[in-house]
């Protein structure tokens, strides 16, 4: 019995020892040959392209570093939560992060990402489009270098809408006319209670000449009549027969699907819908047949949604002044928990170089951020919507820059959802109070 006990303890000790060894092996930052291993997590969308870029950069580094790109979560919120958990737990196996543009201020304020060295920041500024560059800065310093960008365009059915609308008012009018004629007429826009609704509001407010927060983080939403005009547009869309009945729960994917199914005449959405609609069958987005009047049909009419899929600039709030569309996209940041920041900053430059941005654009549909690419005929050939995207980016607006952006966004999307119940008269005060509290991250978020 005594002997048995002793051997039992030995087994336990051996198991613990093995675990410790395993932990040291996997936790080690450097590979066997002295190569630095840089760890990174990419979102699911475009994961193949990011992995390809990581492999190319590892090869090009001349043996100094290897980038290990792991695929993270699909949803933006989940991805952010995963990164935050690792950062709070001081995970040293986290070097390069692909950061959504809305996280810059938050991650910088929390001390989770390193500011770029001044000379590198200057270089990034020179080669990058202005709007996307702005999204990576906080309090005058660059914290995240733009990898790709995103901007919404208006996608519409060329058969139903011969002359695309330039303003929301025109678009609502056209959609109501189509509805009266019994044709596909929905306007698809992000009306669900989520960040996309905040983006819609931010675009409309800035287009009308206002802003939600000032550069210093003061609440400006009630200055002038921009917020009121924005809310009027949203309420008008939502209460008109032009609205999809599911508007108050609709996100980007719902917009894309409604358009591909031939039910919508308009959608406000990101350029990835262009790649989706042209995907060949059977999952092909734009494969739905349409009859001579433009209605979806199951009969093979030889004409499909993808044949009548056009795009133009985002509709404005007033004619003659282009919309200032909210910029999206991903930036590259270096973690403060990284043990190899020098190599990480070097790798970041490679990950966002011309070749990798081009692959990202052509294979995943994500607009690049390097100025020179937009002048490149090869790129223009491969990326048909380039001009509309560049024009949209030139006039772009940035989301409110505050570490508490999530709070602000939640307050806005809670108040403005459902869009059909927006009352500009009573809600302006609520918005101002709610945002003022949210910026300080005090109290509850809904």
């Amino acid at each position: 019995m005594h002997c048995g006990e002793a051997s039992g303890w030995r087994v336990v000790a051996a198991a613990v020892g093995l675990l410790l060894v395993a932990a040291t092996l996997t936790g080690c930052g450097s590979g066997d040959s002295g190569r630095v291993v840089l760890h990174s997590y990419s979102p699911v969308d475009g994961a193949d392209q990011y992995a390809a870029a990581a492999a190319a950069c590892s090869r090009a580094s001349g043996g100094r570093y290897t980038i290990q790109m792991r695929t993270g979560r699909r949803s933006t919120d989940d991805q952010r939560l995963q990164l935050a958990r690792r950062l709070v737990a001081n995970d040293s196996d986290l070097d390069i992060m692909l950061l959504d543009v809305i996280w810059t201020a938050e991650f910088a304020q929390a001390g989770w990402i390193l500011p770029y060295p001044a000379d590198l920041a200057r270089h990034v500024e020179q080669e990058t489009l202005q709007g996307p560059y702005e999204t990576g800065t906080y309090q005058g310093r660059l914290y995240a270098a733009p990898l790709n960008t995103n901007t919404q365009l208006l996608w519409y059915r060329t058969d139903l809408v011969p002359n695309p609308p330039r303003t929301w008012d025109e678009m609502i009018q056209m959609a109501e006319d189509l509805a009266a004629r019994g044709l596909p007429h929905y306007i698809e826009v992000q009306g669900a209670q989520f960040e996309g609704l905040t983006v819609w509001f931010n675009t409309l407010v800035t287009t009308a000449g206002g802003s939600i927060l000032s550069e210093n983080g003061e609440v400006e939403v009630a200055h002038g009549d921009a917020a009121r005009r924005a809310m009027e547009v949203m309420a008008r869309v939502a209460t008109s027969p032009a609205a999809d009945p599911s508007l108050s729960v609709a996100k980007e994917t719902d917009a894309r699907l409604a358009m591909e199914a031939g039910l919508a005449a308009f959608q406000v959405n990101y350029p990835a819908v262009h790649a989706s609609v042209n995907t060949p069958g059977p999952d092909g987005g734009g494969g739905t047949f349409i009859d001579p009047l433009g209605r979806p049909t199951i009969q093979d009419t030889g004409r499909r949604v993808r044949d009548v899929f056009g795009w133009t600039a985002y509709p404005s709030v007033m004619s003659g002044k282009p919309a200032t569309v909210t910029v999206g996209g991903l930036n590259l940041g270096v973690s403060t928990t990284s043990q190899h920041p020098a190599e990480a900053f070097e790798a970041v430059q490679c990950l966002r170089n011309r070749e990798n941005q081009l692959r990202n654009a052509i294979d995943a549909g994500m607009p690049p951020t390097l100025r020179e690419l937009y002048d490149d005929p090869a790129f223009q050939r491969e990326y048909p919507a380039w001009q509309a995207i560049r024009d949209s980016l030139a006039a772009a607006s940035v989301r409110p820059k505050t570490p508490a952006y999530q709070n602000v966004s939640i307050v806005i999307s809670d108040l403005l959802n459902p869009p059909a119940e927006i009352n500009p008269d009573t809600m302006l005060g609520q918005l101002t109070d709610g945002i003022a509290e949210a910026v300080k991250s005090e109290g509850l978020v809904p």
Partner: protein, 318 residues
């Protein structure tokens, strides 16, 4: 019968308090041994349950936002004040209570009917029980996605039954109704199983005696079966109430809390994991814990739900 059992329990306690009956050495060492045997379990529970609860309470007295960690400080009851004066909390609590009460009530009725049917099934009893359990075995998130699909206009088969242009998930009342329906569909089998176990407590001869005395099916249900099943019913209600109160995944998929359909668990999640406000989020968690504790207390003290194993104790002491 109930009364005598209770006095039987109380009598020795009060006697011990007054006279200090000496405990024999053998019994004492037996107690020590029992405590020793329990120790590992108690230790594990302390680590995995008591520590997180204690830490949540500790955090709930602090201003602690991960993004503003330099502002971390003790703020006393300020977080409780912020939560309890916020209409978001009260709205979420109301929605949660409505979902809990309505869904548990419906589940009880349908679950009882299912249990009675299963009890009577003569052929294919195993098959019937398995079929009834299918909804319960489906992952909640998967079920929620299929409900969401079914209720989306132009896509779902259930939405197709409604007039055109009606989107039930976009309105508070109908969305809560859909959430309740999803809950009921999913957890009624669980309720039915618990009640089926309770039905086993009803002796057949008693039912036959009642039948001979002229009691019809309804009379037998209300005067014989239900009173005898009461302990099982209360346990089933307690389990389901506590479970339903913490509803999260169905709502997370079906509406994300849009249109005023968020539950208290959603509120806690958003404050903890979306805005990283650990102080406020922990406060909400503690309040949820307190509501759950009150519900359990009410069930146990007022309705006399027996804790598992308590009956055995009573019997031994008698």
């Amino acid at each position: 019968m109930m009364m005598t059992a209770q006095t039987g329990v109380r009598a020795p306690v009060s006697a011990r308090g007054h006279q200090r009956v000496p405990v024999p050495e053998g019994v004492r060492s037996e107690h020590r041994f029992a405590a020793l045997l329990c120790a590992p379990a108690v230790l594990v529970i302390t680590v995995v349950a008591a520590y997180p609860i204690g830490y949540a309470i500790y955090l709930s007295f602090q201003r602690f936002d991960l993004r503003f960690s330099e502002q971390r400080s003790f703020v006393g009851l300020a977080n409780y004040g912020a939560v309890l004066t916020s209409h978001y909390w009260w709205q979420a609590l109301t929605v949660t209570l409505i979902i809990t009460v309505v869904s548990v009530a419906i589940e009880l009725v349908i679950g009882l009917a299912l249990a009675l049917a299963m009890n009577r099934t003569l052929v294919g009893r195993g098959l019937v029980r398995t079929v009834v359990l299918i909804p319960y075995s489906i992952i909640t998130v998967v079920a929620a996605f299929s409900w969401q699909f079914a209720w989306t206009p132009n896509k779902g088969y259930l939405a197709a039954l409604l007039p055109a242009g009606v989107a039930p998930l976009t309105d508070q009342v109908s969305a809560v109704a859909v959430i309740i329906l999803a809950e009921v569909w999913k957890t009624t089998p669980f309720m039915a199983l618990l009640l089926l176990a309770g039905l086993a407590l009803v002796p057949d001869e008693l039912l036959r005696a009642a039948q001979i005395d002229g009691a019809g099916p309804w009379k037998r249900l209300t005067t014989v079966i239900l009173p005898l099943m009461k302990p099982a019913i209360l346990v089933a209600l307690l389990f389901r109430t506590l479970d339903a109160f913490r509803i999260f995944d169905s709502i997370y998929i079906l509406t994300q809390g849009s249109n005023g359909t968020g539950s208290v668990s959603m509120l806690g999640y958003d404050n903890l994991f979306i805005v990283f406000n650990l102080g406020i989020g922990s406060t909400i968690s503690v309040l949820i814990f307190m509501v759950v504790a009150i519900v359990a207390f009410v069930f146990v003290k007022l309705f006399g739900v027996a804790a598992p194993g308590a009956e055995a104790d009573e019997r031994r002491q008698r």
